[in-house]
């Protein structure tokens, strides 16, 4: 194969009419998109086994329109609620939500915690860039305390969410976190998330060099990936560390992997009960 005919090994998963990307140069979306597609390929699945659902924001553009699959690009904050109806109608399909931290934890926070509580079988990949990227770098519920953004010109006065703790507390059966510095680990974890019979949540810290790095002083793509590398600590190591040592560190790994009653199965049981008594 000559260089001129080289095709990206994942190109077959891209919608033919999706010729351009809306992502800025240096965005973490591409790393994550590849991890998702490699995980699907690695499991021997095809995109026809999936329905992708996204909300509003940069991360929502990972599957929409690029993935050559059934894709529902929904309203801001609501993808998990839409996905709930899709999963109920198509229980045999894998339903995957890909959206951002603003979409899933601010405007859509209620749907996130309730889907985790229901433990409905779906994979939710939350791309956490710590900012509202698409609208130009406003503070998010994930922006660190004190950080300067365009809507916190004197520093962020609010505490950020620990999204994984939130989803864990709400009852999800699988919860994990990685950064875009960890594409291989992410791929393995997404494989597990897809196979999990229950609500599987994967948070991915992802660099936004344009709206986060530039405006908050956190630097460019390389500097931010370097930051993820030096600040990340695996769950196993973190368990042996004191709270003060963990301040400003990013704990990565798989936090929850348990089996518990899953909604689509419990609904099937309800149906059987109703039919028997009808």
């Amino acid at each position: 194969m000559s260089l001129t005919t080289f095709e990206h090994p994942l190109a077959k998963y891209i919608r033919p009419s999706a010729k351009k990307t809306a992502n800025c140069p240096g965005c973490g979306n591409g790393i994550l998109a590849q991890s998702i597609l490699r995980a699907i390929e690695g499991l021997g699945l095809t995109l026809d086994d999936f329905v992708f659902v996204s909300g509003i924001g940069c991360a929502a553009w990972i599957p929409s329109p690029s993935f050559f699959a059934d894709v529902l690009h929904t309203t801001h904050g609501r993808p998990i609620a839409f996905a709930t109806g899709i999963k109920a109608a198509l229980p045999a399909k894998h339903v995957m939500v890909v959206s951002g931290d603003g979409d899933l934890t601010a405007i859509g926070g209620n749907h996130l915690i309730h889907a985790a509580r229901r433990n409905i079988a779906m994979t939710v990949v939350c791309v956490n860039n710590g900012i509202y990227g698409m609208t130009g770098g406003q503070v998010a519920p994930t922006t660190p305390l004190g950080l300067t953004t365009v809507t916190t010109p004197f520093g962020n006065a609010e505490n950020p969410f620990d999204i994984c703790e939130l989803v864990k507390g709400a009852g999800a059966s699988f919860v994990a976190r990685w950064t875009t510095y960890h594409p291989r680990q992410m791929e393995k974890t997404i494989k597990k998330a897809i196979q999990k019979k229950g609500f599987a949540f994967v948070e991915v810290l992802s660099q936004c060099p344009v709206e986060f790095g530039r405006k908050t002083g956190m630097g460019n793509t390389v500097q931010m990936l370097e930051w993820y590398k030096t600040k990340s600590v695996t769950l196993a190591r973190a368990q042996g560390m004191k709270p003060e040592e963990l301040r400003d560190r990013i704990v990565v790994g798989e936090f929850v992997d348990v089996d518990k009653p899953e909604l689509i199965e419990t609904l099937a049981a309800v149906r059987a009960k109703a039919m028997a008594s009808a």
């Binding site: 329109p65 309203t75 709930t84 109806g85 109608a89």
Partner: protein, 384 residues
């Protein structure tokens, strides 16, 4: 249909229950909702009946999630609905716009209650009749039906599903607290006597990149998820292939016009009215539960020699403007009765133009029904 989805027979039933039964008879197999007075009985009935016929009811965390789940289930190939009341509709409006823009068949029942804001949950008001038409942002056409009896609560819900499927669009059923909680006779025909419409499906093996699945004035086939169509569905401005275009105003122009025309061009198929204006000088225009007062007033008025008739709006949207214009040229005066301070009356005035005079009569106390004598008194005072 089978599995006892159609309750064929003669019943004495509450309007909200009849609405739920209409949905089941229409083939609805997914419903999502959130408790709210005075609509809750619809959800309760569906929660009890849907699982027994192989369907699903989900009580969601709020009304926003309810309509979202309904839209998701519809893309999964199911006939789906939600039922709520005014405050719930206010929360759903953004996603109702999503259903319009993505051409998603679904049914939304609004059992109207006293508003604005929290108002009085258990008192009926026809306060939300213009809301479906203009409530969600942007420019669009919508379908809304207004039943006026328990029988129509059943029949119009079936019809709402048929229109939703036929036109790939959300359809409103505008019931109200009075009608929802009223009990009267309901006749449910056998399943084979209930005509059902099914959405036109995207052909197997066809390519979403070359065969249009959106923005056809005569309704494009729907690429249901899970069938391998690889459909891209976005509520952003898109072309006939679902490809997003958020750059060109000309693309937006096509997007808006095609969706509008899909309803406007077929308004004759959608609009349903009924009238008894034979030999009448004055016609009472009404809809929903207030029609019952109008009908009673016409009967009483004719008994005392008044040349009085009625005109019932079964469809509020698209507005029956041509039918009202025709009625306006047959009578000297149209009196619009609504349980509000005047919502549809402005549209009636516009439709009647100068063909006849038009007046408006609310009930003496908003939230109560019109007194027959109040209507007749107003009719006697008409000087066209």
């Amino acid at each position: 249909m089978g599995n006892g989805a159609v309750l064929t027979g003669r019943h004495f039933m509450m309007g909200n229950i009849a609405c739920a039964e209409g949905a089941l008879a229409a083939g609805c197999r997914f419903a999502a909702g959130y408790p709210i007075t005075p609509a809750t009985e619809v959800a309760e009935r569906l929660a009890e009946r849907l699982p027994a016929v192989g369907g699903t009811f989900l009580q969601m965390e709020d009304e926003i999630a309810s309509i979202a789940a309904v839209i998701g289930a519809s893309w999964g190939g199911m006939k789906a609905m939600t039922a709520t009341s005014g405050p719930g509709i206010s929360l759903m409006l953004e996603n109702i716009g999503f259903a319009l823009g993505t051409e998603t068949p679904c049914v939304i029942v609004n059992v109207m209650r006293g508003g604005p804001t929290t108002g009085i949950p258990s008192v009926e008001l026809q306060g939300d009749v213009v809301q479906p038409r203009r409530g969600s942002h942007g420019d669009y056409q919508i379908i809304a039906l207004a039943p006026s009896s328990v029988q129509e609560s059943f029949d119009y819900t079936v019809e709402a599903f048929n229109l939703a499927e036929r036109f790939r669009t959300p359809v409103f059923v505008l019931s109200d607290a009075f009608l929802g909680h009223m009990r009267e006779e309901l006749l449910v025909p056998s399943a084979d006597r209930i005509p059902l419409a099914e959405r036109k499906r995207f052909p197997a093996g066809a390519d979403v990149e070359t065969l249009p699945a959106f923005l056809d004035e005569d309704v494009a086939p729907m690429p249901i998820f899970g069938e391998g169509h690889k459909a891209h569905v976005t509520s952003s401005c898109h072309d006939a292939f679902g490809r997003r275009n958020v750059i060109d105003a000309s693309a937006l122009d096509v997007f808006i016009r095609k969706l509008n025309e899909k309803i406007a061009r077929h308004r004759d198929e959608i609009v349903r009215v009924a009238a008894d204006l034979e030999g009448s000088d004055v016609g009472l225009v009404s809809y929903g539960s207030v029609f019952r007062c109008a009908q009673a007033a016409v009967e009483a008025g004719r008994a005392e020699g008044l040349r009085l008739g009625w005109f019932k709006l079964g469809t509020i949207w698209p507005f029956p403007d041509r039918e009202l214009a025709e009625a306006a040229s047959r009578v000297k005066h149209l009196m619009v009765l609504e349980n509000n301070l005047g919502q549809v009356v402005d549209y009636v005035r516009a439709a009647a133009a100068s063909r006849c005079t038009v007046s408006f009569l609310p009930p003496r106390v908003l939230g109560e029904l019109h007194e027959i004598e109040d209507i007749l008194k107003a009719v006697r005072e008409v000087r066209p």
